[in-house]
Symmetry: C2
Subunit: 453 residues, 2 copies
Amino acid sequence: MGYEDPLKGYSGKLREILKSIGASIGARIRIRKDGEVYEGILMPRHGFAGKQILVLKLDNGYNIGIRTVGKMEIDLVAKAREIKFEAIPSARQRIGELPRVFILGTGGTIASRVEYETGAVKPAMSVDEILDIVPELLDIAVIESETILSIFSEDMTSKYWEIIAEEVAKVIESGVNGVVIAHGTDTMAYTAAALAFAIQNLPAPIVLVGAQRSSDRPSTDAAYNLKGAVITAAKAPFGEVVIAMHGMSSDEYIAVHRGVKTRKMHTSRRDTFQSINDIPIAKVDLRTNKLKLLSNRYLPRRNLEEMRVRPKFEPKVALVKVYPGIDPEIIDFLVDKKYKGIVLEGTGLGHIRAEALPAIRRAIEEGIIVVMTSQCLFGRINMNVYARGRDLLALGVIPGEDMLPETAFVKLSWVLAQTQNPDEVRKLMTTNMVYEINPVHRYELFPRWYHGE
Amino acid sequence: MGYEDPLKGYSGKLREILKSIGASIGARIRIRKDGEVYEGILMPRHGFAGKQILVLKLDNGYNIGIRTVGKMEIDLVAKAREIKFEAIPSARQRIGELPRVFILGTGGTIASRVEYETGAVKPAMSVDEILDIVPELLDIAVIESETILSIFSEDMTSKYWEIIAEEVAKVIESGVNGVVIAHGTDTMAYTAAALAFAIQNLPAPIVLVGAQRSSDRPSTDAAYNLKGAVITAAKAPFGEVVIAMHGMSSDEYIAVHRGVKTRKMHTSRRDTFQSINDIPIAKVDLRTNKLKLLSNRYLPRRNLEEMRVRPKFEPKVALVKVYPGIDPEIIDFLVDKKYKGIVLEGTGLGHIRAEALPAIRRAIEEGIIVVMTSQCLFGRINMNVYARGRDLLALGVIPGEDMLPETAFVKLSWVLAQTQNPDEVRKLMTTNMVYEINPVHRYELFPRWYHGE
């Protein structure tokens, strides 16, 4: 951090203009263009932004990219306050007052920029570059960082979970207070669940964070999400894998959700991540920067010696959603392909059509583990109520309790890399390890839906 | 309806006791047993209930089955008011004052009884027997009924959708004011969507209704749900396919959800059905029996001549949920099996891993229609934001807009039975027919989640 070049990233005519008005990174400037007035702090510009783009941090905390082509006026409102970007944080870091947080970059929208030329969004920023948008993080923690992957999270696989788990374990062994993982939101909850099983008895929280709009966009949520994530990593009393993202569309607080109980529930809202069959463990107030616990039901930080790293996953596990008329040959196909586990996302309390029973029987006879979850998402599997459920239990299908289908899928991948003994697999799948299973389902864990005033 | 036998269903010793205190069906009686007091209206007992079971309708509206074995006291509180069960409704019916509602039974929990001997729940009641638990329906409408199927809804297929659609169309042609379909809840939303596409320009609402606890149980929600459904069928100004079920866990109101925008969201709660990317069209206040519209955005009842019945569905359509590392050979398998359509339940805005692109390309080249939806459920597909989305669009994947994966699956099954011309299929899939697609996504259509006070 810190800018040796006071106009970092700006070149050509735009750089000349900025220099002529006495602006440097951190200066407050005002731009009038096309009848609009923009006022904010001049931010460094990164490689992928077009040369004519000027990046301003507005007072509402968002960065905006302004295309400086055509008629416009630029004025200096106030010179840069060097202090904000360099002096205090580094001084604090030197005297060791602050907690240590390690940020691992894996890609995703939070690490993406819009190529202004093509309009495409690409995960091309290093963690250091992301940090440029939230310099105030240096007041909260000593930040170390490393970019280990640059992928969109739809391309995440269990192989990547293993790489991330191994990296995270190394970082935690180095004695940090918390780890933040910048990750694409599409499959963030799957990765969070994977890490929760792969690294247990955590001495430090692992906080996954992402963004719904890329970090160079005016409306990016990356800055606040990162701030919430770093505060959580630095200060939380729990040793759990959590997801820290906006709690509402507005910038009031960051919700901290338990990874194994969380789902991406909206394609575009900032508060897309929500706890299912659980409540968030904590929230971070974005005005006071305070972490507030919402529950005292969490796994506390453990000693480093207790940490248990088992970073392997079985890739031959499938998640199959059930629907009316589903062809049982889909299950036969997985058996033929030597799959080791199948998680069914059944209907209601854990059902599938009668025509699928022979294929399920064959799968189990051939040693494949079959776990039942529900596409309702909320609530709990109960295969004792109806005849179909009892038939499935009799065949050996394992009830997934109140686990999300996604979490059951990740857990089965993990369990099958630990043991392939069917009795042990059944025991592990039905035993709560990291609060992925609630012993008793709390009926009130259902959001409030709009049904008129 | 009406009871020729004043102690319908009761036999043996229990019948003798009831006779001795002067009780008949409809009488108010009080039972003391094991330190508990039960007071309510004596209801008819059906074949599957054990011989010792006495069925009481409590003042809270629920029926309770009391095992009359062992020490107990039974008292008559008030004689049956004949009027409630017979006189007024049939008088009204004769003079044609009331709307006509036709109830079609298809099975499910609402038509189920617990076999007290084994504890198993079976869909064995006829519609007439279900109606016995809500005699007050006869004050609301002239009820005709027919049991056309007796299955649990996890066994529902597109073939059954066709049978139901044809039956419903016949019933509507007979001039009823509304149709109620008793249906299992597991796949009720799929069937509702199927009927919404199969019968368009409806002159009468089609109201699906079910129960989360079987109709002979103390805690059944069947009675109130049926009441809400019959009121909706009789009085609603809309000609849409809707789902009428509890709006809350308590018995305050029945929410009336648009079938194509509704999902079963909880394995066991009464208010399991919820609108996604939409709000309920109406609710029925259970105290006043009034239907209140929550929106004026609905398809009005049309003239009978305008009704358009197209009850065919293509069975070779699959719904495939995407997850990290999903094997592209699953798509190849569906191509090999001569599937005609695949709905992907992708991640985020509509993504799948890069490794799946060749299999999707091959599917589309072989004439298979591929539609993208999101496992987020809320929000809208947008494949223009990221490179992966653009690649998928370039291959010919059809964006599912803000349709639920389940609705897109049903719609594609229906569309492919109307035309197999790819351009026409694309046009129909991306065109709103019955409010399954919102022209503009309303960002506020997201429930309120609990994040602390």
